[in-house]
């Protein structure tokens, strides 16, 4: 498609949602990117105005709109704070898809989404190949953080410090599980997500250990596909639906009470986006997606709200100071904040210390950090400063994407603060 009128028609489909924005500007109070830049084109109100002006033919610079639309963490702070309840994330993803249909995917996006992501086996094979050869290109940067940096100066890496690909991804050690409900009388499906599988398999092992400890049956189907958020946030609905279909096929076979994931972003994608963006051509698919979405829970919420596991009140450990970062996809998307803290405190050694702005975005925003590393790094440095100011030896957060970003920021400053998922901290106490 290259006719601007077709794009305008697509945008007019979301005109009702756009019109709900009354331009009050309250999103300026909470947008992390606005706080950093002070630019209206980068805050929700500005982006919505751009889409309206584009849809109504007041503006024709599609590339300019695309560029500003993509300078967004999709953290959802604006939507959570919007007086008129504008569905900002829905709008942005639909608009990205519309612009994408108009302009087409970039060759690199095509390669990543359609050449790799939608083929889980190929993705796994490439990742394990990468894990084998990465030592040639990267060297350890921090022992505490387990981070690495490039041996050679690579512009694309922008001096990042990153956790290396795991030598053994989760699926290599635990390809599948199918255990019956135990003492808890519950059985859950387990969706580790790509980052846990390939970068933080230790989080996946911790989840399995904790579930076993509480007598929860686990259904972990093999050949799981990505939740689809990278494709969706780039407006590639085709790849998203391809991935959704694969996951529905994998999980559709199992009987389970809940689907749990240790990844805040996967939780948000499954619960909020699977039902909305499932291709409606097949009514069955949308219904199946909605059914799984309704069963999906963040692992912290499952432990505290369903299993009712509670730390002993009044008891606070002293051996380990832990501060908690709230992932946008837990706090902004679902208002989840107490549960990850409770899970961390299940470890009796832990003393919680709150950081300033615990619920402000760390700057990762998925692929945002790849496209806008300058802004991402600025936000990340604020987060790093707040973490270090608490004097904590560990920062806990329920999202591997946040773990990735925070590891980068701490490692670059040479801080000796470990980055852990709350479930890992609990699992350590189980011996």
């Amino acid at each position: 498609m290259a006719d601007l009128r077709d794009l305008q028609r697509l945008l007019l489909d979301i005109d009702d949602q756009l019109a709900a924005c009354m331009r009050c500007g309250m999103c300026q109070a909470v947008c992390p990117i606005y706080a950093e830049t002070g630019r209206e084109p980068l805050v929700a109100r500005g982006k919505i105005a751009l889409l309206e002006h584009l849809g109504h033919d007041l503006l024709r610079d599609v590339e300019g709109v695309k560029d500003r639309l993509e300078t967004c963490l999709l953290c959802g702070a604006c939507a959570a704070n919007c007086p008129s309840g504008v569905k900002v994330l829905d709008i942005f993803i639909k608009a990205r898809a519309a612009i994408n249909t108009f302009k087409g995917l970039s060759p690199i996006q095509k390669l990543i989404f359609r050449g790799m992501l939608v083929h889980p086996d190929r993705f796994n094979a490439l990742a394990s190949l990468g894990a084998r050869f990465q030592d040639l290109f990267v060297k350890p940067a921090s022992g505490v953080l387990g981070s690495s940096c490039s041996r050679i100066s690579l512009e694309a890496l922008g001096g990042r410090h990153f956790p290396a690909l795991a030598k053994r991804p989760l699926h290599a050690d635990v390809p599948r599980l199918d255990t019956p409900a135990g003492a808890a009388g519950l059985r859950v499906a387990f969706f580790p997500g790509c980052l846990v599988d390939k970068l933080f398999p230790r989080v996946g092992h911790a989840v399995i250990k904790v579930l076993r400890h509480h007598g929860v049956g686990v259904f972990l189907p093999d050949h799981q596909a990505c939740c689809g958020i990278p494709a969706l946030s780039s407006g590639d609905l085709k790849s998203f639906n391809d991935l959704l279909d694969q996951n529905l096929a994998r999980f559709g076979r199992g009987e389970f009470d809940y689907l749990v994931t240790p990844c805040a972003t996967c939780t948000a994608t499954i619960k909020k986006f699977w039902p909305v963006f499932a291709d409606s051509a097949d009514a069955g698919r949308r219904a199946a997606a909605a059914e799984i979405a309704a069963k999906t829970l963040d692992i912290n919420v499952f432990l505290t709200d369903i299993l009712n596991v509670r730390p002993q009140e009044g008891l606070s450990g002293e051996r380990r100071k832990v501060t908690v970062h709230d992932p946008c996809h837990l706090k902004r998307s679902f208002g989840i904040a107490a549960q990850p803290r409770r899970v961390a405190r299940l470890n009796p050694e832990v003393q919680l210390v709150e950081m300033t702005d615990a619920d402000v975005c760390c700057g990762c925003g998925g692929s945002f950090t790849l496209l806008h590393y300058d802004i991402a790094a600025k936000l990340g440095r604020h987060k790093r400063d707040h973490i270090v100011a608490t004097g904590a030896d560990t920062v806990a957060t329920g999202c591997p994407a946040c773990m990735l970003q925070i590891t980068d920021m701490l490692s670059r400053s040479g801080d000796r603060v470990a980055v852990r998922h709350p479930v890992e901290i609990y699992a350590e106490a189980l011996g």
Binding site: M26, P41, R45, L50, L58, G64, P83
Partner: protein, 462 residues
């Protein structure tokens, strides 16, 4: 279209990254919170120092470019919509330094782009109080508050922004700096130019520094929710409270439609059958607060209140104000477009105004929820509509006209706190006089001979 050489001059003065000339960027400075047509500026400039701000003002002056200063663009009257003829938008949000908070002399000096809530919090940390609290305070700037003479919920007892402005320094269009007011409680040096700047909506000067008065915070407060089965009884209670020489810091009103909508949305346990709700807070010395709370309760009951609930503790107080804060959000969700009006009448005419708005809603077949600052006679009739529906929107415009007509006939004013801007300038003469408009225009012409300071606002165009 601006000449590239001129854009280059702006870049030289403000720095390349602080000048936005791309189509997409400019489209994001074409509107504010008023329901009006957007006007795309020719250029957007973001000075990082007040010195640069002055040079930008001068460059606009030298080239006859209309300049509109913008804080956070939250005003409800089109005051920050730029001029269609090569309009320049000048952003103040990089001028966000709190220069001084003087605890001994109880004043503060700020740059115009400081966000109101950030300032109020900083003042509170120093054990002082900055009372003006417009609903947009989490994003609005102090420069914008002064330019619009913003009000808020505490107006009845503490006044509005103008009551806290001790001085304003500003630039004229030659880049000359004008100093007015000062840091002393008393100051009669020269013409009272800072008073002239307050509420001038950017038409007379470009603010660079503002001196604000601070006060001691109240030691105690008591909030309460009072139910009525009749709007007139609620109004009588308001009048009786004031007649008994009690000045609550806040005295808010919600009509039945608003109560029901808030309850639907927030499930706060509001009484949906109440015709009117008053949310009242008294503050001050603890003994005085306790005494006044009892008096207010007695007065309300005597005026026919069907229920009085006193908030016990911080949590219950928050609940009372959550209901008020949810009013606009709840209403705004009903329809795509929210037209928030601001007609204000003498306190005693409040019931007549509420009745008139109900009649107007019926006459034009529109959804109108009313809430507002009953103690100030400041009603916010909120029309819920869809601006894309031309027929319905024509009825909205007729209804707004009639709301103004009624407000003026009751001895009221077009705007209590939202400003005149573009939205209400055509009504100015009706409230004031032909002479007032001409006098104001002569004043503007003398101070801004090229008519480039936010032209068209307040006094319209000649």
């Amino acid at each position: 279209m601006l000449k590239p050489a001129l854009i280059e001059e702006f870049r030289k003065i403000a720095g390349a990254s602080n000048v936005m000339d791309s189509e997409a960027d400019r489209h994001c400075y074409a509107y504010d919170a008023a329901v009006l047509q957007p006007v795309v500026p020719a250029l957007v400039v973001r000075p990082e120092t007040t010195e640069v701000l002055g040079r930008v003002a001068r460059l606009c002056g030298d080239n006859g470019l209309p300049l509109t200063v913008r804080g956070s663009g939250t005003n409800l009257s089109g005051g920050t919509i730029p001029d269609p003829r090569d309009g320049i938008v000048v952003l103040t949000n990089a001028l966000n330094r709190i220069i001084e908070i003087n605890e001994a002399d109880m004043y503060a000096v700020v740059e115009p782009g400081v966000v109101t809530a950030r300032f109020a919090a900083e003042v509170e940390r120093r054990g002082l109080f900055y009372p003006p609290d417009p609903a947009s305070l989490s994003v609005s700037t102090l420069g914008g508050n002064v330019a619009e003479n913003a009000g808020g919920l505490r107006g009845l007892k503490y006044g509005v922004t103008k009551n806290y402005v001790m001085g304003v320094n500003f630039f004229d269009t030659t880049g000359e700096k004008i100093v007015s007011g000062g840091r002393t409680v008393k100051c009669v040096t020269g013409l009272n130019l800072s008073a002239l700047m307050v509420g001038s909506e950017g038409t007379l000067g470009v603010f660079s520094e503002i001196i604000l008065k601070l006060v001691p915070p109240p030691a105690a407060n008591q909030a309460m929710m009072v139910l009525f089965d009749d709007t007139a009884k609620a109004s009588r209670a308001v009048a009786d409270i004031i007649a008994n020489r009690i000045v609550p810091c806040t005295l808010e009103f919600l009509d039945n439609f608003t109560i029901r909508t808030v309850e639907d949305y927030a499930k706060a346990g509001l009484p949906v059958d109440a015709r009117a709700l008053l949310l009242i807070e008294v503050d001050g010395h603890p003994a005085q607060v306790a005494d006044e709370a009892v008096q207010v309760e007695t007065i309300c009951k005597k005026s026919g209140a069907t229920g009085v609930k006193l908030a016990r503790g911080v949590e219950e107080r928050d609940k009372v104000w959550a209901a008020r804060r949810a009013a606009l959000s709840a209403l705004a969700r009903l329809r795509p477009t929210t037209v928030l009006e601001d007609a204000t009448v003498p306190r005693s005419r409040f019931p007549a105004m509420i009745r008139a708005v109900e009649d107007i809603a019926a006459k034009y077949d529109l959804l109108i929820g009313s809430f507002g600052h009953a103690g100030d006679g400041n009603l916010h009739p909120t029309i819920l509509t869809d601006r894309r529906d031309e027929k319905e929107y024509a009825r909205v415009e007729a209804a707004v006209d009639e709301i103004f007509e009624v407000a003026l006939s009751l001895g009221g004013t077009l705007s209590g706190e939202h400003g005149i801007g573009l939205a209400k300038s055509k009504w100015m003469e009706k409230e004031t006089s032909r002479g007032t408009i001409l006098y104001s225009r002569r004043l503007k012409k003398a101070l801004d001979p090229k008519n480039i300071l936010n032209p068209g606002k307040i006094i319209g165009r000649e």
